[in-house]
């Protein structure tokens, strides 16, 4: 994650159109003309309905409450008992203290698993090193982070890393010039956390690495298909299709590329990238 700088607004475009501005103004004017009358007209039936519903509910429950006062539930709280005591003439049942609930073995085991303390690092220097690569990565110093992890360190760290750390490890690998090592953490996300909201982003990143850095279009096509099936965010769908069409075309699968293009054209009929993508559909 290197390209965004705060404020993020610099990366965003103005989404308000002149048509929307004119439409909103006409509605504001219309509402200003009609607002006092409308609010009164709106409030009156709502108030009348509420009063009627309240009266009906009260009338329905009143005779039953007088005829058959319900005994207090054993699980009544101390607050309601105090309220009953305060009312003269009403007998207050004495409540035995409720026994504690027996702890279910299943619950206990799940609590134990949630509260499980992670294993302490073997040495203090190991803990410092673990922190250090994250700090370097957070500062965008991916070369230093990679050096801290050492050769094969990314694969080792990935074995027990969270999704967030797996993304960070992939970033360290690819942005320090070791794209091959970025594949492992991203594949791990897809294999072990396919339901995570970021899984589609992992698939897209993996596809880009396979296509651009590793020159492996068939694998890239597979990853990009997966990104689309995992519902890649709408803002990235156009880019994902573009990469997919290129991957399929470069891997010699012209038919699949044409299918992908027709899906792309259906979803983005006015895309400015259509001419650029059509050239991948031509026979070599």
């Amino acid at each position: 994650m290197t390209e965004l700088r705060s404020p993020v607004k610099h990366a965003l475009r103005n989404t308000t159109t002149q048509t929307a501005v004119a439409r909103m103004w006409s509605r504001i004017e219309a509402r200003e003309r009609t607002q006092p009358r409308k609010s009164w007209l709106r409030a009156w039936p709502v108030a009348a309905t509420l009063v009627l519903a309240g009266s009906l509910a009260f009338a329905k429950s009143w005779p039953r409450a007088r005829r058959d006062p319900a005994p207090p539930h054993p699980a009544v709280t101390s607050v309601s008992v105090t309220a009953l005591k305060a009312a003269p003439g009403i007998p207050v049942p004495t409540l035995a203290p409720a026994p504690p609930l027996p702890a279910s073995p299943a619950i206990l085991s799940s609590v134990r698993s949630v509260n499980r303390v992670p294993a302490a690092p073997a040495t203090a220097s190991e803990a410092v090193a673990k922190e250090t690569w994250r700090q370097f990565a957070a500062r965008g110093e991916h070369q230093k982070a990679y050096a801290e992890l050492g050769k094969g360190g990314i694969a080792l760290e990935a074995q027990s890393a969270s999704v967030t750390d797996l993304f960070a490890l992939a970033d360290v690998a690819r942005l320090s010039g070791h794209p091959t090592e970025a594949v492992g953490p991203l594949e791990r996300i897809l294999a072990h956390q396919p339901t995570d909201a970021r899984a589609s982003l992992a698939a897209l990143t993996l596809g880009r690495i396979q296509l651009r850095s590793l020159s492996n279009p068939p694998a890239a096509a597979q990853s990009l298909q997966q990104a689309l099936s995992l519902n890649v965010p709408t803002g990235l769908a156009e880019d994902t299709y573009a990469l997919l069409i290129e991957s399929l075309s470069r891997s010699g699968n012209a038919g699949a590329a044409r299918d992908a293009y027709s899906r792309f054209a259906e979803q983005f009929p006015e895309s400015a990238r259509a001419p650029e993508l059509r050239k991948w559909l031509r026979d070599p």
């Binding site: 390209e3 705060s6 404020p7 103005n14 989404t15 929307a20 103004w25 509605r27 709408t234 803002g235």
Partner: protein, 212 residues
């Protein structure tokens, strides 16, 4: 509503906003425009709208992640503002006052959305997540980062999310964020710090550190 009135309303929907009639009036300050509105000048009302609508609509779209919901909030904001403009103490702070009204409306809308979603009744379309609002020339990588940021922001409590977005997406000063959110500077700083901690867990964005 009589028939001619309906016809006028329909025509006003399709008619674009006319350019300002007198160039000399364009240079009027916010306080002069507020004074004009208080005197019943409709031109001043429209000028206030034209001057601030882009800022408010953009902000609300990003906060609500929906252009459609944003339009409703912007309309409510201006209707409320014009009806209560007499209560505005410092007319030069009009923009911040409008933003505060808009943010309170955003809060109300989000609360209603939460209730409706709980009952499975919300059919609103989140058509403007951050990655969807990205500039055309932005790289895929930067778009991915925006998408990841959007996912994290969705999981934050509304107060924290709005404060963080006003500070780091809209680029507002801390005092302006506090005023817009209707709380103290200390509270806003705490919210932004909490949001920052959650965001830094997942997205690495180089953000300017808040000065004390």
């Amino acid at each position: 509503m009589s028939q001619p009135r309906v016809a006028r309303a329909l025509l006003s929907v399709v008619r674009p906003l006319a350019p300002p009639t007198s160039p000399s009036r364009v240079e009027q300050s916010d306080s002069a425009l507020v004074a004009g509105v208080l005197l019943g000048d409709r031109w001043c009302k429209r000028e206030i709208y034209v001057r601030h609508v882009d800022y408010l609509a953009g902000m609300c779209t990003r906060l609500l992640r929906s252009a459609e919901a944003s339009e409703d909030v912007v309309q409510d904001t201006f209707v409320i503002a014009f009806s209560k403009i007499g209560l505005l103490r410092d007319p030069e702070a009009l923009r911040g006052w409008l933003a505060a009204i808009a943010v309170s409306q955003v809060h109300r809308r989000l609360a209603r959305q939460r209730v409706l979603r709980f009952f499975g009744l919300d059919r609103g379309l989140d058509d403007a997540p951050l990655d969807e609002c990205a500039r055309e020339d932005l790289t895929v990588e930067a778009r991915s980062e925006l998408a990841a940021l959007d996912l994290v922001l969705q999981g934050l409590p509304p107060g924290q999310r709005i404060a963080w977005m006003l500070r780091h997406v809209e680029g507002e000063a801390l005092d302006a964020v506090a005023e817009t959110c209707g709380c103290s500077r200390a509270t806003v700083k705490r919210w932004i710090a909490l949001a920052n901690a959650r965001i830094k867990e997942r997205v690495h964005i180089v953000a300017d550190e808040d000065a004390s």
